[in-house]
């Protein structure tokens, strides 16, 4: 069975050109970039070049606005803890109910330990932020607003540039978890009101274990890790030179492929989505169909359970993922599905397909071929399935 990987929001394949760029930095140019001798100096120069490549992808004004971290999670944690410490007299955080655990878990912990008051802004059935509630939560007590650029489960985009402007009006710092957005949508940080942005290498064809936090010049900042002077004292620890250089190369490639991502990959995604909605009754797209990552579609299937679908897909060579409970060891649908109030008939039956530039038309064909039969089989097994009672082309989910 031909393997088809449609789980690129979980992680991506490292681009062979990235591997090639990294390899010399393990065995030949192994020096410590902080050393002044020739072993270190050449590495230092390559790290600087990588920083500039990433600066370009982010449209940042200065390369030193980028601080390398060991993951997207570390970047998120650093931003949140820094803001709390750097903004005396302010102890509130505004975030959303659909953030990644890298943000949510820390916020809940800060709340529980009495270190911050947290506002969790809700979303509507399409996953769009409740702007009214957001405005109401903002005040002079807010140290930080942290809102994700793109949702990892549904691909829904928050209008972060505008949201950052609103935060500015109250003197709050604005951070965005852009782990899923970087490399998929154009980003220009120069001139924006965004103070901090997190990204992660392994979501854009760089290796796992390297990420970055963008901190706009002039933003008050407190380091998470203290020690040596690396990253201008903002993140101690000897640089992961190969990882940083790989991320630089990946950034360069992402710029090159940005148009491809917005056109060819998006068309593949759209074709997959349309075919599924047409051929399979009683299913619908989770998330905002208009403001969405070009590579992601999350589809809810009524009367079937997500893990069962995934098991069948896996057997047919297709890798995707599910916001359903059963795959994760949890018993409830994901917090994102719950926040969106997905109808109970479909809350347990959501599948996420996330594409990348590695995908080809045959990948999509294979899913379109396999999925209708899988759904038919599982629905026949389901005690709730009484046949398609609606025209699949105008099926509308019933939200409570």
């Amino acid at each position: 069975m031909r393997p088809v990987y449609l789980d690129n929001n979980a992680t991506t394949r490292v681009d062979p050109a990235v591997v090639e760029a990294m390899l010399p930095f393990f065995t030949e140019q192994f020096g410590n970039p902080s050393s002044i001798h020739s072993f270190g100096a050449s590495v230092g120069a390559s790290v600087k070049k990588a920083r500039q490549q990433l600066q370009q992808l982010l449209g940042a004004e200065h390369d030193h606005e980028i601080i390398y971290t060991a993951s997207g999670t570390e970047a998120d944690n650093t931003a949140i803890l820094s803001a709390l410490e750097a903004m005396p007299g302010r102890d509130e955080i505004v975030t959303s109910a659909v953030e990644h655990p890298a943000v949510l878990s820390l916020c809940q912990h800060l709340e529980k330990t009495g270190r911050a008051k947290v506002h969790y802004i809700g979303v509507d059935s399409l996953g769009r932020l409740d702007i009214e509630a957001y405005r109401n939560a903002l005040s002079e007590k807010v140290a930080l607003v942290t809102l994700m650029w793109a949702n990892n489960e549904t691909g829904t985009l928050f209008p972060v540039e505008g949201l950052a402007e609103l935060a500015k009006e109250h003197g709050a710092l604005f951070h965005t978890d852009a782990v899923q957005a970087v490399g998929k949508v154009p980003i220009v940080l120069k001139g924006s009101a965004i103070d901090m942005l997190s990204l992660s290498g392994h979501k854009l064809h760089a290796p796992k274990g390297v990420g970055a936090l963008y901190v706009k010049r002039g933003t008050r900042f407190k380091p998470l890790l203290r020690g040596g002077h690396q990253e201008r004292g903002r993140r101690a620890g000897t640089e992961n030179a190969p990882g940083i250089i790989g991320l630089g190369k990946a950034a360069e490639l992402a710029i090159e492929h940005m148009v491809d991502e917005q056109t060819r990959v998006k068309e593949l995604r759209d074709r997959l989505e349309k075919a599924i909605l047409q051929r399979i009754p009683n299913c619908f797209v989770n998330g905002d169909p208009r403001e969405r990552l070009p590579n992601t579609t999350n589809i809810a299937f009524e009367y079937v359970e997500g893990e069962a679908i995934l098991l069948h897909l896996t057997r047919q060579g297709v890798a995707a993922s599910s916001g359903s409970a059963c795959t994760s060891g949890s018993l409830e649908p994901s917090h994102v599905m719950r926040a969106m109030n997905v109808p109970f008939t479909a809350a347990h039956g959501s599948i996420r397909f996330s594409l990348s530039r590695d995908n080809v038309p045959e990948d999509v064909d294979q899913v379109i071929e396999a999925l209708p039969k899988i759904l038919e089989k599982l629905r026949e097994l389901s005690p709730f399935w009484a046949g398609a009672n609606k025209d699949p082309n105008d099926f509308k989910p019933v939200y409570a």
Partner: protein, 326 residues
Amino acid sequence: MWDYSEKVKDYFFNPKNAGVLGEANAVGEVGAISCGDALKLMLKVDSETEVIHDARFQTFGCGSAIASSSALTELIIGKTLGEAVSITNQDIADFLGGLPPEKMHCSVMGYEALQAAIANFRGEEWRDDHEERALLCKCFGVDEGMIERAIRMNKLTSIEQITDYTKAGGGCLTCFDRLEDLLAKVNSELVAEGFLAEHEAYRIGVASAADIKAKAKARKETEDAAPAPASPLAPTSPLPPPSAGMTNLKKIRLIEEAIEELRPYLKKDGGDCELVDVDGNNVMVNLKGACMGCQMASVTISGIQERLIAKLGVPIRIVPVKSNAH
């Protein structure tokens, strides 16, 4: 994803006895779509002999829920209701070569559906005690009766196990205090009956709701967590030796009582039954007279078994032995 046994995968991909059974005369339905799994079990039972001629299922749920349902139908077809009633959720899990611990609730769902179908056949309301014993876990619609049965059948001794086996407590966990009370109560009963050692029993206060939620969350977020062992079903510890004292005496007394109640019926048919020994969950009996070797022997055994399970609430196996005392 889960590390399912080959048999679970086989029964998921190629489920046996799936679909609607038109001429069903016993139906058990458990679960709900909002809870993530549900099972409708349909049986065709011979009204004379009570033999299950056919069984079909429809299941909404994950891989192990579908596999457990199918396994259940395979286990019960051809059995009498009396034999089927003593099938436990553990039997379903064993049949499948084990289930991951977090998925044991799928086997319990099978067990509950079977009990419901049998009750339906007999015109009884399947311990539908939602009225008197209010729902304990509102997130997953689990009542006290079901949790109590799962604790007894599987000798559960922690809140996490209750969640694995029944899903109760897997949501908001505001039912924590009541779960704890129930677990401590049933555990102390099991200790008194000799099914559980004193030191294994749950004591109120050893767990906290916050810890459990934190652990559950960690489990959920650790995508690369070590896969669950394929067969987590080994008993947590051996039973206390039969000479453990008063506790076992109580169990034996209950067994004796049950057998005494049955003897008049057996004698009427020219047979008899005598308790020989009790070893853990195995109850050795000596069938005498017309019962011996006759076709009815297995019916008699399952009748006794059914009665004992009803009385003790734990799985019991009747093992017919020859008594060499006389």
